[in-house]
Symmetry: C2
Subunit: 227 residues, 2 copies
């Protein structure tokens, strides 16, 4: 379970401050499928990066499974990111000089898997997102939606118990988007905690609960009916 | 008017060839609003780059206003790109060491506008996409949807007669997406030719016509009813 308390995040730009998060408190129970929605610039990605231990808040606290996340303990943060959390970035963040299959294998290096084990699992993950025929391509040899699917495969490869997906279907046609959603839903059925940013209402309605953000705050919190 | 005849595009990857376009013939009349839809990897961005004179086909020809586009004439290509075509890239392609306002000004350098004129027009363009308060931010200090809107402002700044927009609302919430669509529609009313790739049916239905792609070919071509 994830417990965020009064998260504030300020960015300094020149001589002014952007208040990207203005006091966000959020509890995400184990095995919940939570959708986060809100306008462009409302703080969704900023919140996701803090929940994913990729950034620290200006103030406020974060607990994951009752353990307080302390940014001074960089080793523990790295361990959490590698073992507990799979992150799908809004802009994919693939390594440009690395093939699709090697990008997907990367998280398994920390897990100590053998080279052939990593390769086999990465191949399978890419086949699952429909890219078995693109494993050797580099990111600049892939379409936008193909890069997005490589990023998704990479986030799933270590079977993490928590998946944070920032607009995972933004660059996908309806059919590919539904295939990705189906993968995430089946993982959710098997027990993962899934937090997804989406701007598409009909994607959000597959979640258990939708939280709305506006100007760095949570302004709405609704359980999804009739699923 | 844009006339593409039997466009073929092959990419070589290692020892195999990707047939990204397999013979695309397409006529886009002046002042048409055309939507291009199709699955991830079907060749939409590849086609857009060729139509936008940013890439050349393996074979086939392209005519823009009855002028045959010849890839050996690099100066003429640059002139067309700068004067005739505004391009919104699927992944924005902003200069990372350049502020939002300077990114938007860039196409005006070729037009020979004065520094204060460029600055004034770029400020206005950013205000039009709701980013008047983010002009000094660098791309990595902007949200995904904000970067997308900077890319849109940049494509519009020289008032080009042809706008090619590759998934311009992919990272935008419904409200911001509708605002961008409204801008493009008003430009279309004033006479521009607009070609937009989108994976969202309800965005496509604002167009005059929708072309469907699959595996590097055009497989459908429909006029949009009841607008
Ligand atoms: N530089 C390249 N080298 C090799 N293959 C490429 C290259 N660019 C694109 N491809 C391949 O060509 C096909 C078409 O790519 P394209 O980017 O045109 O697709 P798209 O329809 O825009 O997809 P999406 O909706 O995912 O953006 C893809 O399968 C992709 O893997
Ligand atoms: N590194 C940074 N420096 C300065 N400002 C930033 C930085 N990152 C984000 N911002 C600002 O903080 C605000 C929130 O950004 P964030 O990326 O969280 O928005 P978002 O809700 O994910 O938006 P989108 O839907 O467009 O992706 C934005 O207005 C943005 O300009
Ligand atoms: Mg975001
Ligand atoms: Mg594309």
């Amino acid at each position: 379970m994830i417990l965020a308390t009064e998260l504030v995040k300020h960015y300094r730009v020149g001589d002014h401050i952007v208040e990207a998060l203005r006091g966000v408190t959020l509890t995400v129970p184990k095995n919940e499928f939570l959708a986060i929605m809100g306008p462009s610039g409302s703080g969704k990605s900023t919140l996701m990066h803090i929940l994913g231990c990729l950034d620290h808040p200006t103030s406020g606290t974060l607990h994951i499974d009752e353990e307080e996340i302390n940014i001074t303990n960089q080793n523990r943060l790295a361990e959490l990111r590698n073992k507990k959390i799979g992150f799908v970035f809004q802009q994919f963040n693939l390594l440009s000089r690395t093939s699709a299959i090697n990008n997907v294998e990367l998280p398994l290096l920390y897990a100590g898997a053998s080279a052939s084990e990593r390769h086999k699992r990465a191949q399978k993950a890419l086949e699952m997102v429909g890219l078995g025929h693109r494993t050797g391509h580099f990111p600049n040899q892939l379409s936008g939606g193909e890069q997005q699917r490589v990023a998704i495969a990479r986030a799933l490869i270590t079977d993490p118990p928590v998946i944070l997906a920032d607009e995972p279907t933004g660059n996908l046609d309806t059919k590919s988007g539904n295939e990705v959603l189906a993968i995430l839903q089946s993982l959710h059925k098997r027990g993962i905690t899934l937090i997804m940013v989406t701007h598409e209402r009909d994607v959000g309605e597959h979640a258990d609960r939708i939280v709305h953000m506006l100007d760095g705050r949570i302004t709405g919190d609704e359980m999804v009916e009739d699923k």
